[in-house]
């Protein structure tokens, strides 16, 4: 096959700009070959280079705390948890593939993030995922939702990692561009951490795992454009997942790391061999001589260009210690996996790619990579016009509903609030027998066998808040994720982020992104939870509109003593219920406004980071001293929803509640307010004095709300609900909507 002539036009077709093409020619001192053009185009795509985000990302706190490896240094961040153990964790998006091929798009998203974890030598111990779709009355949304959930389920279940939590939201803004963010957590001995580096001349470079096919070519470039009618034609850019091979790859990879046979290892995700060879070489200030003739292929007549750009899944690049090739091969043979030496590390920092005895590419790896020669841009930023109008909301124009009970039931059964059991019962949440608290709670809790410790994890982001106020909305996302892990008894450790935004070339979008990063940085510095890494996903737009800006926060916390694990549900009747924190009747951007009045407007709830931190300190103190039996944060839906959840989260053993909720001006405003930094706790009568003593010495206001009872949820003697009825509303809402044919 004759290769096309390389010129500016071809470069533009590859998604490069004229300026970028000129830089490439200048750096090489010649016109790139076709293969080289392909390599540059994927390596300099938004997806691999972070060219429009990295400048701002670098303003985030990326070290300190218990971080062992800072953001961007390796495939995932690493946090020390003591006992010679560390936690590796990261979140990543697979939005665009999932928009056109939901099942494989989501499945390979899970596969990719798992490889990021075990390539560091860490065994994956849990997955979470953060999903956004349109509303369920739309048939295509139901198709996407069903496919994405099944894709995540089939991959994680077969691989054998428990999917323990996450979040799902439904809103029109995500109709054509769903968000599929997958997070994985792994555990590793601190003296067995593997690095993604290539060094030491003559070390063999091996490709291991699946064969290479034509799937996923230009996947990274596809992820760097807006969704349009043409996207359907990109379906072949979506890779196909094979969780069984990934499971074998995991076991083999951990064996070669354990036996200390390797110099470095990196998984192949976006940009396949191009990315792994160049990044590993650049990190080691070395080069590689690669012979593509040896790469195991699954299709005939593949070109060098195709082999370099293939995004076939379940592959890794391994730089083996000299003399250990044989042992590495033995291990991969045991697991029936490919393992071939495709080249050697060189001291000369050049990536030389040969195929059929022709030098197809000869590029300094440094020029290709993020942090090296890949471009870095600051874009124009401009405050969007819509923000001026949309924050105005006169409460007097919101009619007070006639029937509070009816509104409450409507909110409780809104798919954004209702139980996601339809989703999480399709996930194996228990395999590996570490899941102390599974899905459906504020945070998932995973014990660490052989220690007294456990890890709490959550993902959070209210895109509606961020849309209405990018900076404060993002601060709330961080604060809420911290609050969620605190409610489970954990100290917040660090975060990973998945930044889902629109097109950064639009000044309004770039401004929004910038503000979100500012808010995230401020909150993370305040809570001492550095950013360990993550992922930026731009171009989440369809011809109609951009998605709500959605910077998802994946938070991990540490529970030193597993006896301190605390859960949200009320435990026994006859206990006392208290509110920690204060209500300000804030309904801007609330679920109530959206559900009852179809309004997305107003000032979002204010967030004061010191108030939030005071609350965390109080809760952790109450948990440590074993004074409270439950803790549940108040978020979307407000206090009435949160109380109902405390009653029915344990479906097997529902506990009623009889409460008096203070009303400042109007019942609807008080009951459905989403004021931040609030938590509901319950305790036995005998701990009343101890509780009040500690709480009164703290900076957090507290209010006695009432007592737990039998089968009724009763509010202000006026509104009464049978728990059986609430259980039906809460647990059947999504499955009922999914069963419409």
């Amino acid at each position: 096959m004759k290769e096309p002539e390389v010129n500016l036009e071809l470069a533009l077709e590859h998604g490069l700009t004229e300026e970028e093409y000129n830089i490439i020619c200048e750096r090489l001192g010649r016109t790139p070959t076709f293969t080289e053009l392909g390599i540059f185009s994927v390596m300099w795509s938004e997806h691999c280079s972070y060219k429009n985000s990295i400048a701002l990302i670098k303003t985030l706190p990326r070290s300190g705390g218990r971080l062992l490896v800072g953001a961007g240094e390796e495939n995932a961040g690493l946090v020390d948890i003591g006992d010679g153990l560390a936690i590796a964790f990261k979140i990543e998006s697979h939005n665009h593939p999932s928009a056109v091929e939901p099942y494989q798009g989501a499945a390979t998203g899970v596969g990719g993030i798992l490889r990021d974890i075990f390539t560091m030598g860490a065994r994956p111990i849990a997955c979470l995922n953060s999903l956004r779709f349109g509303t369920l009355d739309d048939p295509r949304t139901r198709y996407l939702f069903e496919g994405v959930v099944k894709g995540i389920a089939d991959y994680g279940n077969c691989f054998g990692v428990p999917t323990v939590g996450g979040e799902v939201y439904f809103d029109d803004s995500y109709k054509y561009n769903p968000l599929v963010n997958a997070m994985a957590i792994g555990i590793v001995d601190t003296n067995r951490i593997a690095s993604a580096v290539a060094k030491s001349e003559g070390s063999p470079v091996m490709i291991v795992g699946s064969s290479t096919g034509r799937d996923g070519i230009h996947g990274a470039t596809f992820a760097s454009e807006e969704i349009s009618e043409k996207s359907e034609s990109k379906r072949p850019s979506v890779q196909v997942g094979d969780p069984f091979t990934e499971k074998l790859l995991l076991e083999a990879t951990l064996e070669i790391i354990k036996e200390d046979l390797i110099v470095g290892i990196q998984d192949m995700g976006a940009a396949g061999i191009s990315c792994s060879t160049s990044e590993m070489s650049a990190k080691g200030k070395s080069g590689m001589d690669i012979n593509l003739d040896i790469v195991p292929l699954r299709e005939e007549n593949m070109t060098a260009y195709e082999i370099m750009l293939s995004e076939s899944q379940e592959r890794m690049l391994v730089v083996v210690k000299k003399g250990k090739e044989k042992r590495v091969k033995e291990i991969f043979n045991k697991w029936d996996l490919n393992c071939e030496i495709i080249g050697y590390v060189t001291d000369e920092p050049l990536l030389k790619i040969k195929y059929h005895n022709v030098l197809k590419a000869n590029i300094p790896p440094y020029d290709l990579v993020l942090g090296g020669g890949a471009p870095v841009y600051y874009r124009d930023a401009k405050e969007p016009e819509y923000l001026k109008e949309i924050t105005k909301l006169d409460y007097n124009e919101i009619p007070e509903p006639e029937c509070i009970s009816e509104v409450f039931e409507k909110i409780l059964s809104s798919p954004n609030i209702a139980s996601k059991n339809w989703v999480y019962e399709q996930y194996d949440s228990m395999v590996r027998t570490n899941t102390v608290v599974g899905p459906g709670s504020d945070a998932a809790v995973i014990r660490i066998k052989g220690t007294q410790k456990a890890i709490a994890a959550t993902t959070d982001c209210n895109g509606r808040y961020v849309y209405l106020n990018p900076k404060e909305g993002t601060k709330i996302a961080v604060a809420e994720s911290a609050r969620n892990v605190v409610c489970s008894g954990a100290i917040p450790l660090a975060i990973t982020n998945c930044l889902n935004f629109g097109n950064p070339y639009k000044p309004e979008m770039y401004w929004t992104f910038k503000k979100a990063i500012e808010g995230m940085g401020e909150a993370c510095r305040f809570f001492n939870t550095p950013v360990t890494g993550g992922n930026v996903s731009f171009y989440n737009e369809s011809p109609d509109r951009a998605v709500y800006p959605t910077p998802v926060i994946g938070m991990v916390g540490l529970i030193e003593n597993i006896d301190n694990v605390t859960t949200a549900e009320f435990k026994d009747s006859g206990d006392l219920i208290y509110l920690l924190g204060e209500d300000y009747e804030e309904i801007g951007g609330s679920e109530y406004l959206k559900i009852q009045h179809n309004i997305v407007k107003g000032k979002i709830p204010k967030i004061d980071l010191q108030t939030e931190k005071d609350l965390h300190n109080l809760i952790l103190e109450l948990i440590k001293r074993k004074i409270i039996k439950s803790a549940h944060d108040i978020s979307e839906g407000g206090i009435m929803v949160a109380l109902a959840e405390c009653c029915i989260i344990n479906k097997e053993k529902p506990i009623g509640a009889k409460v008096h909720l203070p009303v400042k001006t109007r019942e609807d405003l008080s009951f459905f307010s989403e004021s931040q930094s609030r938590v509901i706790v319950s305790l036995s009568q005998e701990n009343k004095d101890a509780f009040e003593q500690i709480a009164s010495k703290s900076f957090t206001p507290y209010t006695f709300l009432g007592e737990t009872t039998d089968k009724i949820f009763s509010v202000n003697d006026q509104y009464q609900f049978k728990l059986e009825h609430l259980i039906k509303l809460y647990y059947s809402s999504i499955s009922e909507k999914m069963n419409i044919v």
């Binding site: 077969c158 691989f159 054998g160 094979d242 194996d428 228990m430 590996r432 027998t433 066998k449 597993i562």
Partner: protein, 231 residues
Amino acid sequence: MKIKFGIVVFPGANCDHDAYYATKKVLGYDAEFLWHKEPDLKGSNAILLPGGFSYGDYLRTGAIARFSPIMDEVIKFANSGGIVIGICNGFQILLETGLLPGIMQKNINLKFICKDVYLRVENKNTLFTKLVDKNVIKIPIAHGEGNYYADEKTLSELEKNNQVVFRYSDSKGDVTPESNPNGSLNNIAGIINKEGNVLGMMPHPERACDTALSRTDGALIFKSIAESIYK
């Protein structure tokens, strides 16, 4: 004598570590992994075929694992009266070997299901249940194909010989359509062979052995097996 559980590791098994942890670390028996390519049971007193997705379950569940080199030894062991327990994928593999009758179909809702279920213990007079001291136990399921099917004749044989050991039920032990998670005939969750030394069950007892996970009923099954070997 310390009882030794031999846990077969098929490629794609993912509950092998859980079974090992439950039998060895939690319950204090001996346990050893048996690699599927090596036809050697290494002196195990009981063989455990763990859950997971052997060979990805890309063909019919258990259909390829059944031909692993170790399976000839497992079948010989079972035919000479040795205790064999197959859990989830292990149960599916046992069906493929013919050590147990019947087949598995996809769950009736066509979805994977992971949740706690209640099981009515139908036969407490087996090698696997002799120490179960209650009528209803709580053990989680996690499978996509647990919808047990057998022809009428086989089914009536199973019932007549008391080979149905566990049935999906509600918390009170009532066997109802609502308590059947996957469409299994007669709410069947676990069966033994006619001789009584081979058990297949879809629920995961190894996930229910540990107070830290708030589930302990599964331990009764492993304790029963150990007790049966002692006697």
